[in-house]
Amino acid sequence: MSDEIENKSGYQTQSSETMNEYSGAAVGDVDYVRPAEIPEQDLYHGHTFLTKWVFCQDAKVIGVQYFLTAVFTGIVGLILSWLMRLQLGFPELAGFMTAEHYYQFVTMHGMIMVVYFLTALFLGGFGNYLIPLMVGARDMVFPYVNMLSFWMFFVAVAVLMASFFVPGGPTGSGWTLYPPQAILDGTPGSGAGILLMLISLSLFVIGFTMGGLNYLITILQARTRGMTLMRMPLTVWGIFTATVLAMLAFPALLVSSIMMTLDKVLGTSFFMPTILKAGEVLEYGGGSPILFQHLFWFFGHPEVYIVALPAFGIVSDLISVHARKNIFGYRMMVWAIVGIGALSFFVWAHHMYVSGMNPWFGFFFASTTLIIAVPTAMKVYNWILTLWRGNIRINTVMLWCLGFIVTFVNGGITGIFLGNVSVDVPLSDTYFVVAHFHMVMGIAPLMVIMGAVYHWFPLVAGRMLHEGLGKWHFWITFLGAYSIYFPMHYLGFIGVPRRYFEMYDSPYMTSGVGLNEFISLAAFIVGAAQFILIYNIIKTLKTGKPAGKNPWKANSLEWHTSTVPPEHGNFGERLPVVHRWAYDYSVPGAKEDFMPQTTPPSEVSNTEVEKT
């Protein structure tokens, strides 16, 4: 850190008067935008390899670091899922796998995919890269804390991965880590494994809080002139609301991790009642296992939306850009995101209908859960209404969006089964649940991630990913994933319980053997297909078609930077001034079918622009 801080960040610090001159408009003029209230932030530019690429304070580099680390954990999670599917579909080939292994793989797969892959990818990856660019800021407001946030996440991942190598292996308590079993002998990894998991989660929450504060304050305080909240792209709205949820929900995970650590290490009894184990009464007493479940799901359910809301936002933007049409019902979309976020704190116990909590809670939580279906359905309607009378480019990005709509609606509908308390009774803890949440919060967000990768890769790398490879990647992934999870619901109808290492010859299962083999084969293929993308990326970086500026003809600010890919500071000498929302596509009377957010009204006075 020997580099000196350049207090002018390479740009002129502008006073408010000079800014007014830049916008070239006086008060009362149509193009007038209020002057900036504070001078621009000073940026630290790294000069050495270490400060430029490792301990970097540029949100874009941090975003890519988050992305790559999350993808690494995702590949580990993918390999674990292959091993599980091998056991379930072809147990005769999985002779090396014991029940202990299987449960450890189930647990690590779940935790990795939900927290270390999806959450880190959406908020840490896309959030860092896109927020400053989309709101017209030079960087996050606290770049140093932002850098710490990534490295904290990195350490959390390292601790998590280390648990594979400790005596007893990683924890095999299921990703929900329910006590008492999580810290008792009958569960694999109940020694060092569970401790490392709890420590890693705590580190993740700490790191994430640093990043999250950055996202929130950047969005609230560092938007460029003219970028009102109701002009922000929905991607930013999605990430913003998800981060608010994360700030409120992760503390519940942190305290439950700390309390369970104390139960394990110091012998406290937060979650531990009197327990008889192998004829001995253990030295616990008076704790409540259900308390943990309440804390866990108070985090766990908002967590679903922490993953889903950024996906909602991103997919709205992708659909609008590639359908060459404004997003339908923007205000409804914003309020739906905020409303879903608020409601998500009142539905947590729908994960606990058969947990033994007071059964009267069922009425309340079933009602709140089904209410949340209304704003969610509105979002779906608005996506498909955006396609209506658009001019839809059926390219790779749009295919991922269409795949998202199919899988998300499918998974959303099965959510209505599970949310409706008495319908949940026969289905809970069966493969119906497994199929539901993989469809709605595994595959659907993954479709958005892939769409976003194909959409923004040209911005990040300056080259276009290969379309043909992209389409193969999409169709194999979409059709394969759908044929994994759609039929899996029916295993749940038979009554096949989840988290079974082996079914033996149970009457429920013998009829499902063929289906399980088919699902496993599909899982192997879908997993392998992801390497098409990795190949595509490597190939494109070497020989891909240069993207040029704004290859998709999009409106939002990230495509209107001074250079492609954007450099540190994002916008060259002058920050952009915003005059409209991000969705003025195909405006009647306009010369082109898009109108960047920076287009001043005087330039397009002959068009029929409705919303700005």
């Binding site: 058969v354 033994g356 319908v423």
Partner: protein, 284 residues
């Protein structure tokens, strides 16, 4: 164009799969037909929405795929349409929620004449206890559990003395009589689940949970543990035999009560003591 056709095939395939699937419910063997009916209703409403949304999407793909210079509708909002959709969705959701809550109300209100059954779970097995002639189960405590008192029945509780104890994972029931399952666990979470009965509930150490059903079909059913309970979870099975009243009663008469068990154990101990004394005498 190709994309639209493939998406269309996915939707048609989903419908056909649902119609012709060989994988579906096991035949129901309890009173919870209402749960199945609500699932069927949700399938019709939800499936209808799924198909409608996807077909609309596919139509758009066919009709509005990219053409240079196509006139695109510019209409940021349509308040009326949005209002209609909101209300229609709300009504649909309410129509699904109502039957769900009605059945939940039945699920949490146990009939007065239900036979209480104590289901005790541990890593990894089940055993059962039925009330004796007084019709009441005796109270229990985890710390009372030992070889002589496998259920941890309070020795001073008069209701506990005539309790019928079944130290086996097979439980018999008579048809058409409501059963209230009282669940407890001595170590971790478990869940006593018979798919054909549809009902389930977690057993939570430190508390007693319950649910009820009325078996209505004679037969033998497998019991599965439905809440992950450690490495032996998948092997934690048991079974239920539903039989006619006569068969059930003759089975019940062969079972041991708690006081009989205590007496037997005491007798055993006395015998053991005698033998020990004899040995001592002989040695001396």
């Amino acid at each position: 164009m190709h994309a639209g056709i493939i998406f269309l095939l996915v939707i048609v395939g989903s419908i056909l799969f649902h119609i012709f699937t060989p994988w579906y419910w096991t035949d129901i063997a309890s009173n919870w037909q209402g749960m199945d009916d609500t699932i069927t209703l949700t399938f019709w409403v939800g499936g209808g929405v799924f198909v409608a949304v996807c077909l609309f999407m596919v139509y758009c793909v066919f009709k509005f795929s990219y053409k240079e210079g196509r006139t695109v509708e510019y209409k940021p909002e349509d308040k009326k349409l949005e209002r209609i959709l909101t209300w229609a969705t709300t009504l649909g959701v309410a129509a699904l929620l109502a039957p769900g809550l009605i059945i939940w109300n039945q699920y949490v209100n146990v009939p007065k004449n239900a036979l209480e059954v104590d289901v005790m779970a541990w890593q990894w097995g089940w055993q059962y206890r039925l009330p004796g002639e007084d019709g009441k189960l005796g109270t229990t405590k985890v710390i009372n559990i030992n070889d002589d008192n496998p259920f941890g029945i309070n020795p001073n509780d008069p209701f506990g003395q005539d309790d019928v104890i079944i130290q086996s994972d097979v439980l018999n029931m008579e048809t058409d009589r409501p059963i209230k399952i009282l669940l407890r666990s001595v170590d971790v979470l478990h869940n006593w689940y018979v798919p054909q009965f549809r009902a389930k509930m977690d057993a939570v150490p430190g508390t007693i949970t319950f649910y009820w059903f009325e078996p209505n079909k004679v037969g033998e059913y497998e019991v599965l543990c439905a809440e992950y309970c450690g490495v032996g979870h998948y092997a934690m099975r048991g079974s239920v035999i539903v039989q006619s009243k006569q068969d059930y009663n003759s089975w019940l008469n062969e079972q041991e009560t708690f006081s009989e068990l205590v007496a037997k154990q005491n007798k055993l101990k006395i015998e053991e003591n005698k033998i020990a004394k004899k040995i001592n005498l002989n040695l001396n």
